[in-house]
Symmetry: C2
Subunit: 319 residues, 2 copies
């Protein structure tokens, strides 16, 4: 049995043909080209889907799942809002229904879909209550409760990135201030490193970017840590503590069995995970904090497309 999962990102569209075991048979990565508007982006997704299904034939594809960034109304098949695409109220599903008239089609938020991928084919196998947190340009999450995706009343459950960590902290695009995302997203980490350097702290990072501080990224911070840069290590430890507070609060509320952490920032590995785990242990209620396991995502950058395919499988009762 074949399924197609397509994961729409701000930069790329990642699409895969997947079997019912979650194994990738064929994959495709192409630019989103969001600047050309929603019609064009959806055309790109459709082309990608056709491409990965070409060898087996579209008639052998059982269902298609879509991961769409931002706020998604899964009942209406609507992208309510996606900041990184400049989308608002785009009837995504309509176009796919026209293109694939008899095909079972499913869509959901990209992080939620990735959560499903990890639950069925990654670090969350056989776990009923779990959270996936993605650390990248934004900080997002998906929640599995009693084995099922929990979406919330208005499809916006799991917005950990906009929980308040600092009461009087920096303003965030969401309208709140002191949001986790402002400090612990990839741009937030880079900004904090830059602020320290501008304030006069010495760091190898300055040399690593040829003196152009705007080129400091979370990846540069991570590399500088590996080279023993003190400031980078401080920024990483602060990141771990801030994230640790947000995740501890999340654990106190959801009491999950595992917390899976994915996204580009998580590739920093143990130098992020070790202090993060310490903060979580110290800040959670003992009973919840002692038992929870904090683990890296297994599917890495494939969790979105595999998860989108899993959404179709789950919708069709195959898994």
């Amino acid at each position: 049995m074949y399924f197609v999962g397509s994961d729409l990102g701000g930069t790329n569209i990642a699409t895969a043909l997947v079997n019912e075991k979650g194994e990738i048979i064929e994959k495709d990565k192409r630019p989103t080209e969001a600047a050309y508007g929603p019609e064009h982006v959806i055309f790109n997704m459709i082309e990608a889907i056709k491409r990965v299904a070409r060898d087996v034939g579209m008639e052998n594809v059982v269902g298609i799942g879509l991961g769409i960034p931002g706020l998604v109304d899964i009942e209406k098949g609507l992208s309510i809002f996606a900041g990184n695409l400049s989308w608002e109220n785009i009837p995504v599903m309509e176009k796919f229904e026209q293109e694939f008239p008899k095909m079972p089609l499913f869509m959901d938020n990209d992080v939620r879909v990735a959560t499903l991928g990890e639950k069925y084919f990654g670090a969350g196998r056989n776990v009923d209550n779990l959270i996936l947190i993605t650390l990248g340009t934004g900080v997002g999450s998906g929640i599995i409760i009693d084995g099922r995706l929990y979406r919330g009343t208005t499809f916006s459950a799991g917005e950990i990135g906009h929980t308040t960590i600092f009461k009087d902290g920096l303003y965030c695009n969401c309208g709140n201030r002191g949001c986790l995302e402002v400090y612990a997203s990839a741009p937030g980490i880079a900004r904090r490193a830059r602020e320290y350097i501008r304030a006069g702290h010495f760091s190898k990072m300055e040399g690593m970017v040829g003196g152009d501080l705007s080129k400091i990224t979370a990846e540069v911070v991570s590399k500088a840590c590996d080279e023993g840069d003190r400031l980078a290590m401080t920024v990483m430890e602060e990141t771990a503590e801030i994230l640790g507070i947000g995740i501890a609060n999340y654990i106190d509320i959801i009491n999950p069995e595992i917390v899976i952490i994915g996204g580009g920032v998580s590739l920093a590995g143990d130098k992020l995970f070790e202090p993060l785990k310490k903060t979580v242990r110290r800040r959670t209620m003992r009973n919840a904090g002692e038992k929870v396991r904090i683990v890296p995502a297994e599917l890495k950058d494939e969790s979105g497309m595999v998860g989108a395919a899993a959404l179709a499988m789950e919708g069709l009762g195959v898994i």
Copy 2:
């Protein structure tokens, strides 16, 4: 059909005979007498249950539900830990099974049971996703997801009282620092008022307690507000902001339809609720924050006993 619900508190045991509509037929309130140990407390509960059932006859009671404070293992019928009773690993259910051998018996955490009471017979009727937050000596909560109580992996979901509001805040008994409960519980509110007065701020409260600051309670702060005391109003507004942050974070994660607020502190009414709602609106993700309703508990101090009876009704499939 008759059910008995008994709600065990640190100070009192509240017990009711309830019909299947959640109406109280008979009730009993007696001191917990926790100092005499678990056997004695359980004996008191059993006596109270027998008393409320006396007129209709125990043979006409269909099921009994118990609300037990602290961490409860509902599968083993165990009180894992209850700080205000000094209980640890008390096999509560065993004693009740000996006393009522053929009776269907159910137990759960007291706040969770109260949440069930509000869901079936209070402010949460016909709502599938809701939170009940109780503001008293502690700050606790219960979560209903897709119409069912959500307990978490180790029965400790909903611990909003121990989520971190202030990264470097005061230490809490739980081992964390800056917990919501340290600032927004009844003792936390009273302590903050005292600290301001000791720091030299003028307040009517000092006169209200005859100069003995240890007599300032959250209730005194609330009364002083009503009399126009500036400091008391500041303390109340701060409480609303701190609670607002904790509740906004909770809403961002759970995205509930309503948040029900109960417990003694909530009796402060609009002077707490109005600034609290403002903070929640400003701090939540727009989509979740605009739609959520924040309402007072309807069952007031009866939510525990009615909820305990509801636990039995739900367990028996009556509701």
